[in-house]
């Protein structure tokens, strides 16, 4: 098999399987966004939904990951009835692009490959991506579309970023480790 170029890996192959994968990802995102939160205070919670684009990215590539996150966010709004906030959907999609980049740096979860160096790259990408998505992109659109007080908008972006980074690192790395291990080809099995 010919090794895929970086661009091909980035775009993913948009066949039926990928489309279904993105849809399942978006559905899972919607479910976790509405029901899979971990409450911190009354009004603040960590959502585990952001793990989903990581997985979609690992299986299908960054662009499908972005689609799953962006559409998943819209769907979460639809089932929850919270109204549409496209500034956040765009932010989520941008973040999806980053966290779903695993195949670009050689972490092939489906083949069981997720080593220490991939973890480190993943962590860096998560921090940079989140800062960019929720610290810059979302506040930019919030400010442009809805007007608002810049400090507060940025501050909310920072809070969103921090909670996302916590979830993506504390939960994301163990999930990826287990999934990779579950996909790894077993060798040298001995009954003892």
């Amino acid at each position: 098999m010919k090794e895929k170029t970086l661009i091909q890996k980035f775009l993913g192959t948009w066949n039926t399987k990928t489309i279904v994968g993105v849809a399942i990802g978006a559905a899972l995102f919607g479910v976790l966004m509405n029901y899979g939160s971990i409450r911190v205070f009354t009004n603040t919670s960590l959502t585990t939904a952001m793990i989903v684009p990581v997985i979609v990215g690992a299986l299908f590539g960054p662009l499908p990951a972005a689609a799953a996150a962006g559409i998943g966010n819209v769907i979460a709004d639809l089932i929850g009835g919270w109204g549409f906030w496209f500034d956040w959907s765009i932010g989520n999609a941008v973040l999806g692009l980053f966290v779903g980049a695993l195949p670009l740096y050689g972490a092939y979860i489906e083949d069981g490959i997720f080593e220490l160096k991939h973890m480190i790259i993943y962590a860096v990408v998560v921090i940079v991506g989140t800062a960019l998505a929720f610290g810059l992109v979302t506040p930019f659109f919030t400010y442009l579309w809805y007007g608002g007080e810049l400090t507060i908008t940025l501050y909310q972006g920072v809070v969103g970023s921090v909670s996302n980074i916590i979830v993506l690192l504390v939960a994301g790395i163990p999930v990826l480790k287990v999934l990779a291990a579950r996909n790894a080809k077993a060798s040298n099995l001995r009954r003892e």
Binding site: A186, L189, E192
Partner: protein, 569 residues
């Protein structure tokens, strides 16, 4: 008379790209127009791969290397696109839930037409007509979540009836259906075969259930090869079914058990119509000779449900007035059609939901005060799909999880895990990754992960669903051992009547949200009224007994016990 071939395999071989060995070897098989053929084989025999070759998913979705020739309607398939193939072959897949992609019945039936970009005005009458064939035309607006497995399957069938497809391919149509629904499905397939003259190819390993309606030919596969291409009669007479891990129809086993020689019989494919006169005397003598075994000593009552009722909303009970007792060491089947209350009672027992009326007692004490976690130490629930339970990548970690979450000391965890590993015959594999396990082994790991908390009772949801006879026997033998050697009380939630009569002492039958039967399985299955109401079906051993004028429940008991003796020997 020259018949027109619809499918022609000639010296056909196929190897998946990811595998080193070929999956299909030297397949030569012709299916003619208007035939009804059963492709029989245990899991992993290659029958699904063969089906994928027939409907075009190979090579469209699965890459691999093909040699030899495969013609569909006279054309070599490697020159056709998947869409051209779909015009000839209509497929109903095994998983009726996954293949229902529309958000309503009408939409799902219309799916192929939508993809053809057909204007809606043309689509509507076509959808209605197709729905009418499968008797779903009154449900066009229904959403999938309200449909039974059988209804979803009929919708899938309607969805491929628009075009003039030549062959209908059914991939394990009985996998997800309750016994009565399974019969309906086989009857419907037969009707389509008769009324519309379609060529039918059924892929299954449940031989007896398919024979509910006759088939012209049976193709038996094993290890990627066709090992027999013959009539059902020939297969029943020979010993190939046993050799290739296909379960023999029960009435045939019963007749053979009694020492009858079937070789001279004219047609033994249907217990309702076959000529039994030559065997009557033999069966009767055998039945009367065997002494009835004494019943098991009843153990102490572990769980008691008294007038239990439950409803999500006031005034709309899902379950009402349920009473039963579960004693130590019992094996109980919980049966009934979907939505009858089986899973509600399981949820109640696990404490996920609590009775809105009546009381559930564990060892005489009301369980209201216990948390889900505390109940988990007395009663464990094993989900149907092992993948829904397994979280760790190493077997011993997975099994020890319940204890480490309870912050037990490490040495205690290791000791308990070690014991459970031995109990479940997994000790030798304790350092293996989960990914290296077969389905049956994974199932054992999930059971072990529950046993580690040392519950008295375990509830298993469809432990053998979708598995062939070999895996079925592996899982059930293991459970029997847990019951006999370690005294575990086991509840099986199941549609499988074979399982119920072979491996359980008692059945709780649910219908319309209440328990309508609580008795030995043999007795339950001789009650016409309960059979109807709970969507069960009479087993062929019963039919046999009735036709011979023998007491059906005792005869079944006699047969099952003889089978058990044979198994333990």
């Amino acid at each position: 008379m020259s018949r027109k071939p619809v499918i022609e395999f000639k010296d056909f071989n196929f190897r998946y790209k990811t595998q080193t060995q070929a999956t299909l070897h030297d397949i030569s098989l012709t299916i003619y127009e208007g035939e009804k053929v059963l492709l029989l084989g245990a899991s992993g025999c290659g029958k699904s791969t063969l089906a994928h070759c027939v409907n075009g998913l190979i090579p469209f979705s699965f890459n691999g290397e093909m040699t030899g020739s495969l013609k569909v309607a006279g054309e070599e398939t490697r020159e056709l696109s998947l869409f051209q193939m779909s015009g000839h072959i209509g497929t109903v897949l095994q998983d009726s839930d996954a293949q229902f992609v529309g958000l309503s019945v009408g939409e799902d039936i219309a799916y192929a037409l939508e993809n053809d970009n057909m204007p809606r005005s043309e689509m509507l009458p076509k959808v209605y007509n197709s729905a009418k064939i499968v008797d779903m035309h009154r449900f066009l607006e229904q959403v999938p979540y309200n449909l039974s497995g059988g209804q979803k399957q009929r919708v899938a069938l309607a969805g491929i009836m628009h075009d003039d497809v030549k062959l209908l391919l059914f991939d394990e149509p009985l996998a997800a259906l309750d016994p009565m629904m399974g019969n309906f499905a086989i009857e419907l397939i037969d009707r389509i075969h008769q009324d519309y003259g379609k060529t039918i190819l059924i892929i299954e390993h449940r031989f007896e259930d398919v024979l509910h309606r006759s088939v012209d030919r049976v193709v038996l596969m094993d290890d990627g090869r066709i090992v027999a291409d013959t009539t059902p009669q020939e297969l029943l007479l020979g010993s190939m079914l046993w050799e290739y891990s296909i379960r023999e129809p029960l009435y045939i086993s019963a007749l053979k058990q009694a020492g009858c020689s079937l070789q001279m019989a004219k047609d033994i494919t249907d217990v309702r119509t076959m000529d039994l006169s030559p065997y009557e005397q033999q069966v009767r003598t055998d039945f009367e000779q065997t002494a009835v075994l004494e019943p098991k000593e009843p153990g102490e009552v572990l769980i008691e449900a008294e007038n239990v009722g439950f409803g999500y909303e006031q005034g709309r009970p899902v379950l009402s007035d349920v009473n039963f007792k579960i004693r130590r060491g019992e094996r109980i089947a919980v049966v009934g059609k979907n939505g009858a209350g089986k899973s509600t009672i399981a949820k109640l027992l696990c404490g996920i939901i609590r009775p809105t009326e009546g009381q559930i007692r564990f060892k005489g004490e009301d369980y209201t005060a216990l948390s889900i976690r505390e109940i988990g130490e007395q009663l464990g629930y094993v989900m149907q799909n092992p993948n829904q339970m397994i979280v760790k990548d190493m077997i011993s970690e997975e099994i020890g999880l319940g204890l480490s979450l309870r912050d037990r000391p490490q040495d205690e965890i290791e000791k308990s895990v070690g014991e459970v590993l031995k109990m479940c015959n997994l000790y030798e594999m304790r350092h293996w990754p989960v990914s290296a396990l077969s389905y049956g082994q994974k199932k054992r790991v999930t059971i072990a992960s529950i046993l580690v908390m040392n519950p008295d009772v375990i509830i298993l949801d469809e432990p053998t669903a979708g598995q062939d006879y070999r895996v079925y026997t592996e899982i059930m033998t293991f459970l029997e051992q847990l019951n006999a050697e370690f005294g575990k009380t086991i509840l099986f939630i199941t549609h499988d009547m074979h399982l119920a009569i072979e491996y359980t002492d008692r059945a709780l039958v649910f219908s319309e949200g209440t328990c309508i039967g609580d008795d030995a399985v043999f007795k339950i299955l001789s009650d016409e009224d309960i059979i109807q109401r709970a969507h069960l079906k009479e087993t062929s051993v019963f039919t046999l007994a009735k036709r011979l004028g023998l007491p059906a429940d005792e005869f079944t008991e006699h047969f099952i016990k003889a089978e058990r003796r044979k198994r333990s020997a």
